[in-house]
Symmetry: none
Subunit: 203 residues, 4 copies
Amino acid sequence: MSTQARRGNTRQRIQDVALELFSEQGYDKTSLREIAEKLEVTKAALYYHFKTKEDIVISLFQDLGRPIDELIVWAEGQPRTLETKKELIRRYSESLRSAEPLFRFMQENQAAVRDLSIGESFKSRMLTLFGLLKEPDAELTDQVRCITALFSMHAGMFSMQNLEGDPEEKRKAILEVATELVTAANPPHRRPARPDSAQTVSP
Amino acid sequence: MSTQARRGNTRQRIQDVALELFSEQGYDKTSLREIAEKLEVTKAALYYHFKTKEDIVISLFQDLGRPIDELIVWAEGQPRTLETKKELIRRYSESLRSAEPLFRFMQENQAAVRDLSIGESFKSRMLTLFGLLKEPDAELTDQVRCITALFSMHAGMFSMQNLEGDPEEKRKAILEVATELVTAANPPHRRPARPDSAQTVSP
Amino acid sequence: MSTQARRGNTRQRIQDVALELFSEQGYDKTSLREIAEKLEVTKAALYYHFKTKEDIVISLFQDLGRPIDELIVWAEGQPRTLETKKELIRRYSESLRSAEPLFRFMQENQAAVRDLSIGESFKSRMLTLFGLLKEPDAELTDQVRCITALFSMHAGMFSMQNLEGDPEEKRKAILEVATELVTAANPPHRRPARPDSAQTVSP
Amino acid sequence: MSTQARRGNTRQRIQDVALELFSEQGYDKTSLREIAEKLEVTKAALYYHFKTKEDIVISLFQDLGRPIDELIVWAEGQPRTLETKKELIRRYSESLRSAEPLFRFMQENQAAVRDLSIGESFKSRMLTLFGLLKEPDAELTDQVRCITALFSMHAGMFSMQNLEGDPEEKRKAILEVATELVTAANPPHRRPARPDSAQTVSP
DNA sequence: GATGAATGAGGCTTCATTCAT
DNA sequence: GATGAATGAAGCCTCATTCAT
């Protein structure tokens, strides 16, 4: 790529390389020097585009996290039926496909990300999704089902790298299991007879 | 603790503090200086007891990972029935209880741990457990179920910190869901037609 | 100030902001980035108006130091009487009033200014003033008096910020003391009557 | 000096070189690299002895500022007579002789020192001295006299470098003028005869 | 069983400055 | 009259590690 051709998209290129390295080697292990070298620019050039190393992560998250935000907005406008939840899970799975490296990065660098300003924001998004999946007064096991559904989708993608099979098929399998979990967490009958309390499992 | 009383168990104390800090702040963010300061010894003292920083992690894993190894040995000596698998899951859950900080550390510092010599060894233990849970020729969805069961137990502990409820109850809820997943992954019927597998539970 | 109204006087505005920041935070601690940001222009814009950072200081000194130069020219054209010297001090005090931030800057950043080309020029101006205040063959103590008079006027302004009282009154008080010092350093009768101490003002 | 012989006094040597460079070139212009190079150690060695660059300054001030503190303690235990004040000034002059580079540094780097934690502590010491020199209800001019006395002793030392004459003689001359100023600021007769102006020396 | 002193490598960040547009 | 993009040098600081005592 010529010097000429690189103009104007350096910011984007920094994000790409940074995400690649962050997700491959970890946040702490990836130095700005390394990113700069891979891009054949100086470290100072990075600082022209981003105020700090953390800022790069923030920008990644803002760009790639947008689909998730939109998904949340969508879900909040829907009736809280099981159908909606299944569709939510399905769409989420889809979103993760394109944002995979970002989620891998988040998943594998939790400790490092924790004190980046973004940690909280990420966590709160997860909690919102969780809130959308579970019944308001769900039992503990059902809550666990929902959280597990969510996390299996994140972790799944990489912790299953060793499994044979093509990625798209794996994604579908994960989605299937996650859907089962959410379905199990949202029993259809049990609700008419339960004005607001739980636990009664009647035959 | 008096200076007197501290004699002779410095090694242990280093491990304790290191694990605490590693799991709280992350591996990369925790410096030997910090560990030494918290112990009120010098950095050099750490080097008397451990050859490198990585060595501390290795020692932690050797000590706290032993129960898992024993569990594996036990499981390998059992018939590969669903009952065994359920018991395996149950015992695993129990082991995690005491080794929680270590697993939290592993979970949240995957990127950092990846190029520590221990990374592989940890991963291989997970794969062994996975192999013990799943049917040899299990379908993809069933494999996902088993992996999810395993990971929900790791992640569960910390990603569910925000949930209300006492830790022991949560652990039980997680175990319940994990057991369900494993059960679902090991369907009882489907087996008559499969001559080459073991597991046949009923005629 | 509208974008429209800012046209054409950017140079001036740079000087204003630069002086303000230099005198508030120090020369080294004030970056061109900071100046540019406060002006809402880019750093490159500063370079359109000034060749270097040092150039900004030089320009400040040329503009604000002119009154001092004029004062020197005036004094050199007067008879070297005590009256002239007192008037010189008085006018100097007046000049300092408007050039206060510049002098504060010079006073508090001596080390930083020393290797700016301007350092020497400032120092030589001070020496010229000193030469105009003291008798050609003044004793050491009288020389000290003159220098002290000069410096008390510079330092005075800021080192007395903590004192209560309004600025104008303080300036007058400082001028009064400085005048005394100059007067004491310029005995009317060619000092036959002064064995070694001072104070005696009239026979 | 052999490697052997340098042991144990590195801390001291750092302080010496640092003070020398700080006072010669200014605080901001002196890098730790420079100090380290001059000492033929690595930068990291400096950090073994001092936590930060600022810490070096603090240590200098603690060591060299002690005489001033002792002087203050002494003065506070004396009757507040003119004699005491003159003796205070005399002793102060003496102290400055040994701490000259430190004071030069403080004087010429006011801007840089201002936001070092020590700035305040220095300033407050000056204010205490000022309080000890002036009468509690002194007029503004008398206050100016006292401050000028103090500052002439600081500034004097270096701003008079250009003057011919040996340093010790200059110091004495400065002390003489400072003493005069303090004397003038402490009129013996409780000022019944001084409605608001000064100058009148005899009844 | 531990310390004191030091090192080499490298981290993030900031700065003054340049130049094509 | 000014900007956008970039650079090279340098700053402060921290880290894991070593070794003589």
